[in-house]
Symmetry: C2
Subunit: 149 residues, 2 copies
Amino acid sequence: MAVIMAAAREREVSPGDEAWAILRQVMIGAQRRFLATAAELELHPAQAGALLRMEPGAASPMHELAKLLGCDNSNVTGIVDRLEARGLVTRRPYAQDRRVKHVVLTPAGTELAARFRAHMASPPEAISRLSVADQRLLRDLLRRAVEND
Amino acid sequence: MAVIMAAAREREVSPGDEAWAILRQVMIGAQRRFLATAAELELHPAQAGALLRMEPGAASPMHELAKLLGCDNSNVTGIVDRLEARGLVTRRPYAQDRRVKHVVLTPAGTELAARFRAHMASPPEAISRLSVADQRLLRDLLRRAVEND
DNA sequence: GCGAGAAACTTGAGGTTGTCAACTATTGAT
DNA sequence: ATCAATAGTTGACAACCTCAAGTTTCTCGC
């Protein structure tokens, strides 16, 4: 216990750390919104995650989806099964490599994904409440942060 | 399909929206880190979530934990069961209201929670890479954003 | 070419998470 | 004293997740 306190004291707290602590709080709210939106559209969280990671026109191999979701291939099988059963997604054979199956959004899937994105697109109160000047400042700062990634 | 594009065009995109879009990307990375940390400490995500929402000294009623986690009371029963089986947490009767049980971190639980927090405390590359001046700017901006919450 | 090894996907077992409905014990309000 | 509401648990059931095993297909060295 005393060890923990000592460790905490050892490390200098940078303004970046403090910013990060606030961001984590913001993220908890965003997580709630994600879950609420998923529930509203009758998607389980993992299904929503998969849907959101598929580009409307593109065809993703299942293993790529697994990589994006950070989970096992075998997991994606079930998730895509259920999305396919709801007609949101289609499996398509891939001639160049017959081991691979591509997953494609159906029109219904594209539409639902767009609705989901629309729900998530508006920033939380905390951000929209800022003055436009501050919003611009924040945007530019964040752009600078993630550039050359 | 055309409907979607039209809807997207209708709405003005504010700098706040753009900032939020970047933040969502940052959050995806943070989510991965959360899962990786949980796995490393052999905690399932929900268990980690519960652990992180308990203050080291305090005693939380189970229903309060459920509210914080945004899930059903019955769900918390199982999660606390498993945390208790691992000795990270204890159930304690609450004399003032005998329907209620309080959940308290054990020393082992406190220690594990601290290790978890330490893992999450350092900001992602994108932020730590900023100049100290920018970090300060970001911190102040975020403080302004979440103040009077 | 051919064969060994690797990759993509599926299946099945086993544990965790989540919701819902039903149940017990307790509280609080009339 | 009774009745409705609350806290927690239990059981049923679906989804999620990982791991190990299995099938099909590819790739690479020879």
